[in-house]
């Protein structure tokens, strides 16, 4: 089996997200970088499926040259190949992103054959457009379901499960297929020392992206109005219990 996973490098903010003075981006001074937890699960899912069914897995990102860090992280937990589409770290809208990624997939498939399964995250952690995977799937004329928390490969059929309020929906798609996965699909492993060392040797395949901008243009980022609270401190040890239960009574939750 051949599996491709798409990941996006994003800042890892803490208690609040600060915006740069020009209001164009997240202030990343002192911040680390990561990918969406959904994408971490997609990477882990790809590694597990290859462990079960054999084959090889590839990870691809469109972003700044530094996104090599996220590619190598994926390699450190078992992904075999890495592709970097360096767009200089510009903010690309979802249509443009999808076009560039679609082009790259066509090129990779022309060289090495089709991917049986392509995994996206349910949504990017930062911009949350909820669409890049769907657009790519339409372009490649492949079945695509988003929000997936369970995947089984049964011969030429991909069985995918999606959690909804009332339970679970089951989808069965012919290969090749595309899925958008959600955190909870699995519990991603941590890289081992051996994995980290091996990931340093993985060759990064550079595919330059070209695509025109789409119709959604960012004007500025802003923080939502923050909750200000004059926190009432009920105590500092177990003697606070009666005051806590008074609060339960007051709120009618007892």
């Amino acid at each position: 089996m051949r599996i491709l996973t798409l990941i996006k490098r994003v800042p890892a903010p803490g208690a609040r997200i600060n915006v740069t003075d020009d209001e164009q981006s997240v202030n990343t001074a002192n911040l680390g970088f990561t990918m969406s937890p959904h994408e971490e699960c997609a990477v882990e899912g790809a590694v597990q499926l290859i462990e079960q069914h054999g084959g090889e897995s590839t990870v691809l990102t469109l972003g700044p040259a530094e996104a090599e860090e996220q590619l190598r992280y994926a390699a450190s937990i078992g992904i075999n190949n890495a592709v970097l589409m360096d767009n200089g770290g510009e903010d690309w809208d979802p249509q443009r992103t999808a076009k560039a990624i679609g082009d790259a997939i066509e090129q990779l498939e022309a060289e090495d054959g089709p991917f049986d399964l392509i995994l996206f995250g349910n949504e990017s952690a930062d911009s949350g457009g909820f669409q890049v995977g769907v657009r790519v799937a339409h372009r490649l004329d492949r079945p695509m379901v988003n929000g997936i928390k369970g995947i089984d490969v049964e011969g030429d059929v991909i069985v995918a499960r999606r959690e909804v309020d009332a339970g679970v929906e089951v989808y069965k798609m012919p290969k090749p297929a595309i899925l958008g996965v959600k955190e909870g699909l699995n519990l991603p492993r941590y890289p081992t020392m051996k994995g980290r060392l091996a990931s340093k040797k993985v060759e990064i395949n550079a595919v330059p992206p070209v695509a025109d901008a789409g119709g959604q243009v960012k004007v500025r980022l802003l923080r939502p109005v923050e909750t200000v609270s004059n926190t009432v401190v009920l105590g500092t040890d177990e003697s606070a219990a009666p005051a806590v239960v008074d609060l339960f009574e007051e709120l009618g939750v007892l």
Binding site: P13, A15, Q95, A125, N146, V164, G215, V233, A241, F248
Partner: protein, 323 residues
């Protein structure tokens, strides 16, 4: 008169409550923009035209096709794309739920139109809007340049309500042309889970974070949750450690909760956790650190060790309940 077309989200013939939010938004938006409100129902109609009318739709296009008798993102997306081509609405709106965003993305891909997900404010021309990023921790103002403006409204950004002046809800049958191959993404099976209180509906949620320390240490939180008729939730640090299943996780990539009371124990209140908890009506933070974000944002706090405090609270609750 040109229209705002609202995608009705439904499951097995029942309208999703989120659609009421999209219709309420569309009603006010249409009034300001001088447009008519239309709705699109996919599959079994079963009274949804009347319901959409009561929420303000003047006209309801009912797409009837065997492929639409259950949900499938491709068949629904193709149907929406054909409806947009046929009725040429100025604006297309869905609620930004899993299905809403998925069907809009499918239709937008087919028409090669932009699609702006999770808007919280839209100018009457629908060329400028504000949308959420980071699951609502950040907002982005965007401009939209498109012949047809496709957008979803962020869940809970607009309140669903009956229209003061109901729409006619006039039914109009619409026959999409759908290729059999689109059945490839139709639901083939459902597993119905036993209904009970879920994280998103529980009146009380007791969240335990990294400060709880181990999987076993959730037992006292479970006991208190049971006494209060609530549910235990957790942070991502906890699911990552394998202490609790992901279905208990509150936050950007977990569940959004809105209980009467959220008791956050040993949770620092990272922004991605906070966006999932901020709709709680009251928050009590229990934390050893009085500067933790969760503490400074909560209405009430106890600055102390959750391991001694939770059992003490449980004992006090039992005493008052005479147990």
């Amino acid at each position: 008169m040109s229209s705002v077309l609202v995608l009705v989200e439904s499951d097995q013939g029942a309208m999703a409550p989120a659609t009421h939010e999209a219709l309420a938004f569309a009603r006010d938006f249409a009034a300001a923009a001088g447009l008519a409100v239309h709705a699109l129902v996919c599959g079994t109609e079963s009274g949804m035209a009347v319901e959409a009318g009561a929420h303000g739709a003047a006209s309801v296009h009912v797409a009837d096709h065997p492929l639409l008798d259950d949900y499938g993102p491709e068949a629904w997306g193709e149907t929406l794309a054909q409806a947009i081509t046929q009725y040429a609405p100025a604006v297309v709106v869905a609620c930004g739920t899993d299905r809403g965003n998925e069907v809009m993305a499918q239709a937008a891909a087919r028409l090669d139109l932009p699609f702006v997900a999770n808007c919280t404010e839209v100018e009457p021309g629908a060329t400028e809007m504000t949308r959420t990023q980071w699951g609502g921790s950040l907002l982005e103002q965007v401009t939209l340049d498109a012949s047809t403006r496709m957008l979803s409204v962020a869940p809970h950004a607009f309140e669903g309500s009956l229209a003061a002046v109901p729409g006619a809800g006039m039914m109009d049958m619409f026959a999409p042309v759908l290729d059999d191959s689109l059945s490839r993404t139709k639901i083939v099976d459902r597993v119905v889970l036993s209904s009970g209180i879920t994280l998103s509906t529980a009146p009380v949620v007791i969240g335990g974070g990294r400060g709880v320390g181990s999987a076993e240490a959730y037992a006292p939180l479970e006991e208190l949750a049971e006494l209060l008729g609530g549910r235990v939730g957790c942070s991502r640090a906890v699911t990552n450690n394998g202490w609790r299943p992901h279905s208990d996780q509150v936050g950007q990539t977990g569940t959004r909760i809105a209980p009467e009371l959220y008791i956050a124990c040993g949770i620092s209140g990272a922004i991605q956790h906070w966006v999932g908890a901020k709709a709680s009506k009251n928050i009590l933070a229990i934390n050893t650190d009085n500067e933790a974000n969760m503490v400074t944002k909560a209405g009430h706090a106890v600055i102390g060790d959750l391991h001694t405090l939770i059992p003490a609270i449980t004992a006090e609750v039992k005493k008052r309940k005479g147990l």
